[in-house]
């Protein structure tokens, strides 16, 4: 005998079809399409007022850091933005200022003292003590050997010309002042900063 689909059976089929779709409509209703805004990343950040140290406009910047300087936390700066109070910058920044975060966090930041020995092809990590001791020793040896107290005309000149220094025009006035004070006390004269170039 041949398989016959009676009307009743056909209705069943139809019903099944309906079921699938309506099941989809109701049964598997997907998550409601809610609009969600990205979490506001500055919530709870510690804000520190600072100055951009690239160019001489001296824009005010706000440094946002994670951690509240509590004793058990190492604060970490994760966002930099213009300071709207600053009379010159009024919150705006240039592409360098806007990218300050990647300077502060740069992979090229140095983390500990290093030395490259004569002829060597590599850096070696050293302690601050070793660094200071060796540098001071170098400086003293050179100064003692080459310090000029009197020039050929018999003038008292008290200068040290065989070791020189370049100061940083991006460093603070406090650093600059202390540097100058130290340098002249040693009688150093070959001493400049970026203002020269």
């Amino acid at each position: 005998m041949t398989l016959r689909v009676t009307r009743r059976q056909f209705f069943k089929l139809g019903a099944a079809g309906m079921a699938t779709s309506s099941m989809a409509m109701m049964g598997f209703a997907p998550e409601p399409a809610v609009a969600s805004i990205r979490h506001f990343k500055l919530t709870g950040a510690k804000i520190t007022r600072s100055n951009c140290t690239y160019c001489s406009v001296g824009c005010g910047v706000l440094l946002y850091s994670r951690g509240d300087a509590a004793i058990n936390v190492v604060d970490d700066i994760y966002h930099v933005e213009g300071d709207p109070d600053h009379p010159v910058s009024r919150g705006s920044l240039c592409p360098k200022g806007a990218g300050l975060l990647d300077y502060i966090q740069s992979d090229s930041r140095l983390r500990y003292p290093q030395v490259r020995e004569p002829g060597s092809d590599e850096w070696r990590r050293i302690s601050w003590d070793e660094a200071f001791d060796r540098i001071a020793r170098h400086m003293k040896d050179d100064r003692d050997a080459n310090f000029v107290t009197d020039d050929e005309d018999g003038n008292s000149v008290n200068r040290w010309t065989t070791t020189g220094m370049l100061a940083a025009s991006a460093s603070t006035n406090e650093t600059a002042y202390l540097t100058h004070k130290v340098v002249r006390s040693l009688g150093m004269v070959a001493f400049d900063n970026q203002a020269r170039v």
């Binding site: 041949t2 398989l3 989809a24 598997f28």
Partner: protein
């Protein structure tokens, strides 16, 4: 008692034909279910059937590729019997008789009637188009490289052709249910001589002719004792 014993005598579709057809059928249904959500949000929740929206987006094209492959195989197998003949046009002219079941008025039909042939060609056309347009908008593989206007055109075409294909499918499925015995034919591959004579007169004649010749051959080699029953 197993169905096999009572199976109708006349072979209409080979095992491979049937397997092939049902693979196409299943993947086509899956494609419809996974495609509709992108066609209209009303069907969005169907994505739940495929493990979520993104999964649906990912699966749909692969199922599509699979179906296209299967279909082409089938298309080759059914090619000859799907060529449209003059008499098919006559059959189509009398489509009203077809629908009204006034079959006695219809011209005799070969293995496939004009309707089945139309389904064949429509589907062939649709699926080729769907393949091409589908590839053009396939993220993340090809879409990126396709000029935006073409991508827009493809999206439009893909949706429209899919719509056509679905309609064709509905007609196809309905006919399967409507014409008693054809569903069974595609399930078990066999039909009764009466069914064949009614729906596919010419094919019926061919089959009988074949049967006669086979019997003739057998008679030449066989002893009269173990003669078989007639069909």
């Amino acid at each position: 008692m197993s169905l096999a014993k009572t199976d109708p005598p006349l072979q209409r579709y080979s095992v491979w034909n049937r397997l092939n057809h049902w693979l196409v059928a299943i993947s086509f249904v899956l494609l419809v279910l996974s495609g509709l959500p992108f066609f209209h949000p009303f069907f969005w929740s169907l994505t739940a059937l495929f493990g979520g929206p993104t999964m649906t987006r990912i699966l749909h094209p692969y199922i599509g590729l699979f179906m296209t492959l299967m279909f082409l195989v089938m298309a080759v197998a059914f090619f000859k019997e799907s060529l449209i003949k003059r008499r098919d046009l006559q059959w189509l002219r009398q489509i009203r008789d077809v629908l009204a079941n006034r079959d006695e008025r219809l011209p005799p039909v070969g293995k496939n009637n004009a309707g089945q042939k139309l389904v064949y060609w429509l589907m062939l056309g649709c699926i080729v188009l769907l393949l091409v347009t589908g590839l053009l908008i396939w993220q993340p593989y090809f879409a990126g490289a396709v000029p935006i206007t073409l991508r827009r055109l493809a999206s439009l075409a893909h949706a429209f052709v899919a719509f056509l294909a679905i309609l064709t499918l509905i007609i196809h499925v309905y006919s399967g249910i409507w014409v008693k015995g054809s569903f069974q034919a595609m399930v078990r591959g066999r039909v009764s001589w009466a069914w064949a004579r009614h729906h596919h007169g010419l094919w019926y004649e061919e089959e009988r002719e074949k049967a006669r010749q086979q019997r003739a051959i057998r008679r030449r080699h066989d002893t009269p004792t173990n003669r078989q029953e007639s069909p």
